[in-house]
Amino acid sequence: MYPPKFDYAAPRSLDEALGLLSDRGEDVKVLAGGQSLIPMMKLRLASPAMLIDINRLPGLSEIAESDGYLRLGALVRHNDVGNSDLVSRRNPTMAAAAPWIADPIVRNRGTVCGALAHADPLGDWASVMLACDAEVVATSASGQRTIPMRDFITDVFTTALREDELLTEVRVPVSGSRTGGDYQTLERKVGDYATAAVATRLDLDEDGRIVGAGIALTSVCSINTKVTEAEALLIGQQPSTELFVEAAEIAARTATPQDDVRGPAEYKRDVVRVFTRRGLATSLELAQAG
């Protein structure tokens, strides 16, 4: 299968890429890993007039910690996250999710930032980033701004990025050593979307009390959804099984799953309930082991 014709540019500098974006923004798609975009173009679901291939831009492939953030550049591949010692030490939610993205070969190529910008409502990374209170960095020829993850995905396949902006980085705050996280997911087979998945994060203070919490749902709402009501319930409390059961009930109630080939809605709601409870329990263990 061939996509429709398009113009192609592979700029060697960020300035050049941003210049092209501001000149041609309307018809442009940015090509990073291309593991969602290229199939969509082949199926003619997307037909951009121009592709700006950012794979040759320098300095965007790094995973680094600085100024209180764990930062992933626009060209960090899914497998880079899965293989990163820094990520496994600093962000267990990301580390748990990385091996479940697509399949091993797609993970060699696809990028985290690309997946966020693509905003597939069944994508995994947005839930991870919502649970971790991430921010994305949007860069354009006229400047740079940060967008909190909770404001970034505005609808199905739709984000707050302007046409002239490039998503250059996603970053998550790094808290103390007593942090834990998990990504519980159910897939019919490798490479399939999740039937249901739950991202969790817990930060504890020195007395073991919860000072930070994140819960977000994949595949069971119209877009990735942060369960703020359950997060608010957890914060300030001493962790307990009863508390986690209550948070899981809120998550299950927040979900609005649909019947489809992956299962009936009520089944998925039950999965959310169980996964939230398990995810919080695992997050707690990791945080206590800190």
Binding site: K5, Y8, K42
Partner: protein, 178 residues
Amino acid sequence: MEITMTVNGVAHKDDVEPRVLLADYLRTRLGLTGTHIGCDTTSCGVCTVLMDGTPVKSCTVFAVQADDTEITTVEGLKSADGLHPIQKAFKQEHGLQCGFCTPAMMLVGKALIEQNPDPDEDEVRWAISGNLCRCTGYVNIVKAIRAAAAESRGTADEGPALVDLTNEPSPTVSAPVG
């Protein structure tokens, strides 16, 4: 657009339309039909090639993206010394039935062994989980990749040493009578 790509050690300079996929470039322009196309939708993995040593699905990479890279296809596995250990192992362990997924399975196996010289069964199965075998012949594919790893480590003690059967006469098969 003009591109330069090294495929199986040979440099190719070409003018290609940006929408030409790497899989089609390899098959139609270079005639390297060992790279197969199955689903054409990034699901089955039979089009896998190595791009700078890393497995990628060549139906989901444009040829222009492979400008200035080194590509290895199944045709590049064999050397002057004979078959690559992964090829010998697939032959000896009968790691193929119809052969359609085999080029990709061997390339993924080769990349895995380079990263992890002694993969256990679970690690092999995990590594090939993006590659479908329509004959469902996974047991022998896993055996073959592990045998190739043992051979590459020089500890092929789990079975008979792998031999290059390329030049041996094929066994004669008699047609059933009646």
